[in-house]
Symmetry: C2
DNA sequence: ACGATATTGCCAAATATTTAACAAAAATGT
DNA sequence: ACATTTTTGTTAAATATTTGGCAATATCGT
């Protein structure tokens, strides 16, 4: 029996979480799959199906308790604990991510920033000093880092990834325009920004035809 | 008859484009779907199926000519023309995107940057002066802008989107953590960074169980 | 020049995902 | 208290996507 949850479902969970947070902030107490479907844009059937992968959180004739469901999805997403994160590559993007305070509010705690550029090493960004990337290996040995954000250029990304794998970092969030080769036991999420632009470009071309 | 290409296929096109560019740079002349499958990680069958949505670019017993295929996919993606783009919100992320030179090399030309913060308005980023967002509407009337990158906070995003829709901007690349409500004729790509982190978090939690 | 090999394009089968349908259970109104 | 309405959880049907199989055709080696 295959009890693993499909990727399609997993990728929708953050959106549920986001919308439930909004409802919670607006003091909405309960919501039906139908009502939720109208604001979130999935079908009611899909919402019920998705949630039932994890348990029966609703109640017939009533719907779902917003606060409970929000907390349940938080638990499913692993938001009950905090994660230590590092940024490698403190260029524009790395600095932008370092300054994103909202990640911290979800429990992603930034504990280190690394770069190889001597002009950037030593700078303080969001209260954290940028360290030379040559010292990263040692840092990872002394700190139990969960997630690394790779914000280097294409050339440096695989080199950095190899060190991260060796140091048993658990996940990589990769912004470099390259698909990293890593061992099975490390999870990678790629953000290929240019891919999104090309998708837009595809549709703009289509429109003109 | 439904002749529209599925989103699953469209989302893979940029990856084909990326890998073909790499092969081209390495002076590889021809490639079979089997060889490509080994480096790109899709099945050979899927690759052939994907490409055949747009035409028979290959040749039996030979495979695909790398340069031709690269160009064809570029054409499919609409990379034969240039697009005028603007950035709204010149915070850390907006500035990072403004400094991304690689977008330009794909034909996405940055023509304006807007912000509401008086401390930022007037700054020059990558050769472009940041303009007050109140002047954006007028700017859009005088310049045929194709794509707008929304890098504002959650609060400002919908307000900005409404102006963009009115000004007949064709596409929005939205980095604000909100799902924009826009008319049908404008294309939106969302980049919800936090969603990716939550996906990683989901899998980290799974690992521990 | 010709047989062996490689490889596409396409169709069909297998999987995966989404949507529809509905019985069962809870809530609501009178 | 009881009929009506709401809404879930779940099963089944419908769609969509991916993979496998193979005839047709080109290339390659001799």
């Amino acid at each position: 029996m295959d009890n693993s949850i499909s990727m399609a479902v997993i990728k929708r969970l953050p959106k549920y979480h986001r919308y439930l947070k909004e409802l919670l902030d607006r003091d909405v107490k309960r919501i039906s799959s139908k009502e939720l479907s109208e604001i979130i844009g999935f079908t009611a059937s899909q919402i019920r199906q998705d949630l039932n992968n994890f348990g029966g959180f609703g109640q017939q004739g009533y719907g779902y308790n917003v606060e409970d469901l929000y907390k349940e999805i938080g638990k499913i997403l692993g938001l009950t604990k905090t994660y230590k994160t590092v940024i490698i590559g403190a260029g524009n993007l790395g600095q932008a991510l370092a300054n994103y305070t909202s990640f911290g509010s979800y429990g992603f705690e930034l504990v280190g920033i690394f770069d190889k550029n001597p002009k950037i090493v030593g700078l303080e960004i969001n209260g954290i000093e940028v360290t030379d990337v040559d010292l990263m290996k040692k840092f990872l040995e002394n700190n139990d880092v969960d997630i690394a954000y790779i914000c280097t250029n294409k050339t440096g990304a695989q080199f950095v990834a190899d060190i991260l794998v060796q140091a048993k970092v658990k996940a990589i969030w990769n912004f470099a325009p390259v698909d990293l080769k890593v061992s099975e036991d490390i999870r990678v999420e790629n953000v290929h920004l240019i891919d999104d632009l090309l998708t837009l470009s595809y549709f703009l071309k289509e429109q003109g035809e």
